[in-house]
């Protein structure tokens, strides 16, 4: 059995190699637009956030791929969980994620999000992000360099284009599961006080 | 004959009080009211019967003896005095059961003496008689002022006496000088010859007269005693002082002035004296917190306004002066009666008390009186002030105009302060009882303020007539001395 880094690599590649799903032409067109324009929430949740500024500025220039920052979750398509995730941060990430509008994608950076990384025995840090939020793409490394982040983005774009990046649907479908896990670490009385939005939202104006 | 009645009746009544008081407990009061009512009736009948300028001339041993002239002008004053005195007596009658004065017979004596003296001042055409009535009015006023015998009242009486004495010395000195140079005490004779006197003598006599009367007509530097007297005296008596006594002095002062100096040599001086008086009085009243003193300052201001109006020495202004005299007499009378109603329960006259008083009727009446005093349109006060200011504007005395308006503004400041106190929102604890009779008096006074304000034309002609008569020196001389 592979351990550590090798195992992370396996997770990464396993996701990438799944088969194509069918999509009609409207979906294809829309996915193409979504692929071309990715707004990333400017929210540094862990130490990996330090790698994001070079990714977006002159040196690596993510904007040439249509990737740019957005300040608020309302406008963002992608949230990057950059590294270890303490309970306190997790709560904010969940709220932010739920405030983003569909379709939305989650990119997880660093070993900590995969299996706890160097915080594997910390009482205060979650070990497996996908138990709490659906992850579209892991970028491993501690920390991943901007090159790998860009590579992750390109892979994400590819998935979006193929209509495979559907974590947000997964989240809606398996909400009970995610919520159970979230409550397990964040406590029963835990917010988000507005519950899961799409249950309660009223349609229309 | 009637003019002597105006003087003789109250005078006689005054002397007859010891006798009348034996007739019964209430006899004195009722007879007094009756007597005054009859005088009022007489005056009214005279007013209705005669429309000519001179109503009556009565001479006893002319030209050196006593003579009275009842002209339209003096009739107006007599009417006003008798009316106010009647109302006063009625008011006293209504509140007498609860708040009678101690030693009532003396009080009635003084009251009627005061009336007689005031009317006498207005009617006399003889300078020595004027002096005599001057003294009678003064003495009864001193005693009335000190009547309640509290420390303040005694102080005020004493002050009144002292200043009155000084005033009469000056007046007497003036009379002596006049007699020395003219050889007669008859006003007409003096008036004829006064112009011919050397300038220095004229100046001296004028100055002495001015100082003598100045104390009594409450003109600026000589009116320092007024506030103390008003504060010390009871509000009822104050109503008389500001309603009757001052008006009588004012009238006689300007009567003499018009006779002696028809060309108006001192007009400018007197005008500015009046203007300054008004301004000073109003400014001084600005911070006053004692109601009686405050109204005293207001009286000073209003009297100064009348002073200015008379000093203008033309018909319109004198007409305006009569309007203001009426307006002020009625309104101040009303205000002091209201204060008297307040005084029944408590002597404290601090303005804070107004916040506590729970009597809408009294308040409305006070509002009416105050608004009239401020010269708000629809009240008679406005008519007088408007006419006066109009004639000031026409004469081009802009400085004086502005002076009067500024003084009015300052007056408005403290009157509206009082109104603000009365409109104070909060619990009101102090009930003031006003009996039906008292209410009638208030209502009649208030209504007359309003009616005269809305329909001033009803008396305007009469007043103009009076003004013409007062200003006509030659007619007066002709009347007295004969053509």
């Amino acid at each position: 059995m592979e351990t550590g880094f090798l195992q992370e690599q396996k997770v990464l590649e396993g996701d990438l190699n799944s088969e194509n799903s069918h999509q009609n032409s409207v979906d294809f067109l829309m996915n193409w637009f979504r692929k071309q324009s990715i707004f990333v929430l400017a929210y540094g949740t862990g130490c990996g956030a330090i790698e994001m500024p070079p990714t977006f500025t002159s040196r690596y220039d993510a904007e040439r791929l249509g990737i740019r920052g957005a300040a608020t979750p309302r406008q963002a398509d992608v949230i990057i969980v950059s590294g270890y995730c303490s309970y306190k941060t997790l709560r904010r990430i969940i709220r932010t994620y739920e405030q983003m509008s569909n379709p939305k994608y989650l990119l997880a950076l660093g070993s900590c999000t995969v299996n706890g990384g160097m915080y594997w025995d910390s009482y205060n840090t979650i070990k497996k992000l996908e138990d709490y939020l659906p992850v579209d793409m892991y970028v491993n490394g501690c920390m991943p360099r901007p090159e790998s982040i860009l590579e992750g983005f390109i892979a994400l774009q590819k998935e979006i284009g193929e209509g495979k990046a559907s974590s947000w649907q997964k989240y809606e479908e398996n909400y009970e599961f995610y919520r159970k896990n979230q409550e397990a670490v964040l406590g029963k009385k835990v917010e988000p006080s507005y519950e899961a939005d799409w249950y309660l939202y009223e349609g229309g104006l | 004959m009637s003019s002597t009645l105006f003087i003789a009746l109250p005078l006689l009544f005054g002397f007859a009080t010891p006798l009348l008081s034996r007739l019964g407990k209430n006899a004195l009061a009722y007879t007094s009211v009756l007597m005054q009512l009859s005088l009022l009736g007489l005056a009214l009948s005279l007013l209705l019967a005669h429309s000519s300028t001179t109503v009556e001339l009565i001479s006893i041993a002319a030209p050196l003896g006593i003579s009275f002239v009842l002209s339209t002008a003096s009739l107006l004053m007599v009417l006003l005095f008798t009316l106010l005195m009647t109302l006063f007596s009625l008011y006293y009658l209504f509140q007498r059961r609860a708040n009678a004065y101690a030693n009532e017979s003396k009080f009635f004596t003084l009251l009627n003496m005061l009336l007689a003296a005031s009317i006498g001042l207005v009617l006399s055409s003889d300078i020595f008689n004027i002096y005599v009535f001057f003294e009678i009015a003064g003495i009864s006023a001193y005693i009335l002022s000190a009547y309640s015998k509290t420390a303040l009242a005694l102080e005020s009486g004493l002050k009144y006496l002292l200043t009155g004495a000084v005033a009469s010395i000056f007046l007497l000195f003036a009379i002596v000088l006049i007699y020395l140079h003219v050889g007669s005490l008859n006003l007409a004779v003096i008036a004829e010859q006064f112009q011919l006197l050397p300038y220095n003598v004229k100046l001296l006599i004028s100055l002495l007269l001015l100082i003598g009367f100045g104390f009594k007509v409450e003109v600026f530097p000589l009116n320092f005693w007024v506030t103390d007297v008003y504060q010390g005296s009871t509000s009822l008596v104050n109503a008389l002082f500001s309603g009757i006594v001052v008006k009588a002095y004012l009238f006689v002062f300007f009567h003499i002035l018009y006779l002696f100096l028809p060309q108006g040599e001192f007009t400018l001086f007197l005008l500015y004296l009046g203007g300054v008086s008004m301004l000073v009085a109003e400014v001084a009243g600005l911070r006053q917190t004692n109601l009686k003193r405050l109204f005293a300052y207001s009286s000073l201001g209003q009297v100064a306004l009348i002073f200015v109006a008379f000093a203008m020495q033309n018909i319109q202004a004198v007409q305006a002066a009569f309007f203001i005299v009426i307006a002020h007499s009625l309104a101040k009378f009303m205000l002091f009666l209201a204060l008297a109603s307040l005084e029944k329960t408590e002597q404290n006259m601090h303005i804070d008390r107004l916040k506590q008083i729970d009597s809408p009727f009294l308040m409305v009446m006070m509002f009416l009186a105050m608004l009239s005093l401020l010269g708000i349109p629809l009240f008679v006060g406005f008519v007088g002030k408007f006419l006066l200011l109009k004639s000031l504007a026409v004469e081009g005395m802009l400085t004086l105009l502005v002076m009067v308006v500024v003084a009015s503004f300052i007056e408005a400041i403290y009157y509206f302060k009082l109104m603000g106190y009365m409109l104070h929102k909060g619990t009101r604890s102090e009930k003031v009882e006003v009996s039906l009779g008292e209410k009638m008096i208030f209502v009649s006074l208030g209504l007359s303020l309003l009616l005269l304000g809305v329909f001033p034309m009803s008396i305007a002609g009469f007043l103009q007539n009076a003004a013409e008569v007062l200003l006509d020196q030659t007619a007066y001389i002709t009347l007295l001395v004969g053509g």
């Binding site: 309302r74 006080s193 799409w198 009223e202 | 530097p221 026409v394 408005a412």
Partner: protein
């Protein structure tokens, strides 16, 4: 109708029905009716209605009087009846402040009309011009000074507005619309008479008007109390009119704006009265988030503020346009820039008003339970709002009426073609097209927008906002904008306006007056000997001076 006063033949009085008088009388009728419409919601004493009747009567007297004496009498009665009307709710200080300014206004008007009388011995409007010309230069200036003081106090022009703000704030909610819509208009009426009949004090009006608009606008931005804010807004709006009256052809714009301002201030104050009626709160900081509770009121306030800000396509733009082109015509370019500047600044307080009351979050629990205001409040608002919309669509509608007034005052007429267009020498615009285009585009965009696939979803919870990933709750301070504009104080020029107040000047004046009074009172302290000396000395000095 002419008659004489007091049986004195030298004072001729006159009442006359003129187009100008009718214009203002119409405004009086409109204001009175709309204000009385909301009256059943309040329990008022009978004396209130009595005084109110007296007030309205005095207003009619002012409007229909054709000579300055009757005008003055109306003016005084108006001041006094307003005093007693205000006394129902005002604090002692505010009341005293009001009446002192009102008396100052009345007395200076008195002096002015007496000065006018002194030359030609007539109070009639027709003779006013001649009387004015017959004065000497100094007296002319004095007259203008007194007249303008009287008018400015009623208008609340900056420097003379000390009484106005408190009176508006504390007056009864029923009475405030009337105060703003009508009583200040009487000052305007006096000013129009002054400008039309006597002289156009160009520079004074221009400077005072501009200062008023700018300073009052920035003062309004500072306020936290709704009624204070609107009071300053009233001052500023009247400032526009004062400014435009300073130019030769400004009368049309002034009248137009007077009409619009009356309508909009009635609308706004009635709206506010409704809000205060249901919430019992008067501060912007105590309100908020009422839009879904009072949707109709919100729409009316929106219409009100759009008009107040002078935005197309509603009526506010028409009057602003008239004012601008009048100033442009007279080549008062910097003045125009100043007026436009203050008009642009007005956006802040206008937004602050609507935000503080209706938008944002409720600041109190009980705000979440209020219901829509009673129909008695809504009915007049429907009327006023529809009037404003109609005027916005057909801006030329009132031009013929204004022209009638202008013709009567011998001024240049405004050009008029159709009721849809507003034409001035510099430009024209078609209100119907503007309104139609806006409506059409709005509906089209809205329809296309609603057809889009993306579903609009509404959060159940008002706390679901993007709040930096935090979870706000009841205790979180979310109603931010009611204190809007505070940061402007950090700008030097605006700080200067915010810091200074006419209060300091009047306080100083009052202090000096009291000090002076203290000194003068010493005379009456009762020290006889001293007084005798003073008296005699004074008399002698005065006598010598007067005889010299």
């Amino acid at each position: 109708m002419e008659f004489s006063l007091y049986g004195l033949s030298d004072i001729v009085l006159s009442l006359k029905v003129t187009a100008l008088a009718n214009f203002f009388a119409l405004l009086i009728v409109l204001s009175t009716l709309t204000v009385l419409f909301i009256a059943p919601n309040y329990r008022l004493k009978r004396s209130f209605y009595l005084l109110f009747t007296l007030l309205v009567a005095s207003l009619f007297l002012i409007v229909y009087a054709h000579d300055y004496l009757l005008f003055f009498i109306g003016w005084e009665v108006m001041s006094i009846s307003t005093y007693f009307l205000l006394s129902f709710t005002l604090s002692k200080e505010a009341l005293h402040k009001y009446i002192l300014f009102a008396m100052a206004s009345a007395l200076s008007l008195f002096v002015a009309i007496l000065l006018l009388y002194s030359t030609q011995h007539s109070f009639l409007y027709e003779d006013a011009k001649q009387s004015y010309l017959a004065m000497s230069d100094g007296v002319q200036q004095l007259f203008t000074l007194f007249m303008l003081i009287a008018i400015f106090i009623k208008l609340g022009t900056i420097g003379f507005h000390y009484w106005l703000v408190d009176a508006y704030e504390e007056s009864h909610n029923l009475f405030t619309p009337f105060l703003s819509a009508m009583l200040s208009k009487m000052g305007l009426y006096a000013l129009i008479l002054f400008v039309a009949n006597i002289t156009q004090a160009t520079y004074v009006l221009a400077v005072m008007g501009l200062l008023t608009t700018i300073i009052a606008t920035f003062k309004a931005i500072e306020q936290e109390s709704i009624k204070r804010l609107l009071a300053y807004s009233s001052i500023a709006q009247l400032g526009y009119i004062v400014t435009v009256l300073s130019v030769a052809d400004g009368m049309g714009g002034a009248l137009y704006h007077a009409l619009i301002h009356t309508l909009v201030k009635l609308l706004l104050f009635i709206n506010i009265a409704g809000v205060i009626y249901v919430t019992q709160k008067e501060k912007l900081s105590d309100l908020g988030g009422l839009i879904y509770k009072l949707p109709q009121s919100f729409v009316f306030l929106l219409i009100g503020i759009i008009v107040l800000a002078g935005m197309p396509p509603l009526g506010g733009f028409a009057s602003k346009f008239m004012i601008y082109t009048a100033l442009l015509d007279a080549k008062y370019l910097l003045l125009l820039a100043g007026v436009m500047f203050s008009s642009a600044s007005a956006f802040i307080y206008v937004y602050k008003l609507i935000y503080g009351i209706y938008l944002g979050h409720p600041t109190h629990k009980n705000l979440e339970e209020v219901k829509e205001v009673p129909w008695t409040f809504l009915a007049p608002q429907y009327l006023l709002a529809s009037l404003l919309v109609i005027i916005g669509t057909f801006p030329g509608l009132v031009i013929p009426y204004i022209n009638r007034i202008l013709g009567e005052l011998n001024l240049t007429l405004l050009s008029f073609e159709t009721i849809q267009t507003l034409i001035t020498s510099y430009a024209q615009y078609n209100g119907f097209v503007v309104m139609g285009a806006f409506g059409g585009i709005f509906v089209l965009v809205l329809m296309m927008f609603m057809l889009l696939r993306s579903k609009a979803k509404k959060p159940k919870n008002r706390f679901d906002i993007a709040y930096c990933a935090e979870e706000p709750n009841e205790a979180t301070h979310l109603h931010y904008g009611y204190s809007m504009g505070q940061e402007l104080k950090r700008v030097g020029l605006i700080h200067l306006i915010a810091k200074n107040s006419s209060k300091y000047f009047y306080d100083f004046l009052a202090k000096q007056m009291q000090y002076f009074s203290e000194v003068v009172r010493k005379i009456y302290s009762g020290n006889l000997l001293l007084n005798f000396n003073i008296a005699v000395l004074f008399l002698i000095i005065l006598l010598l001076w007067s005889l010299k």
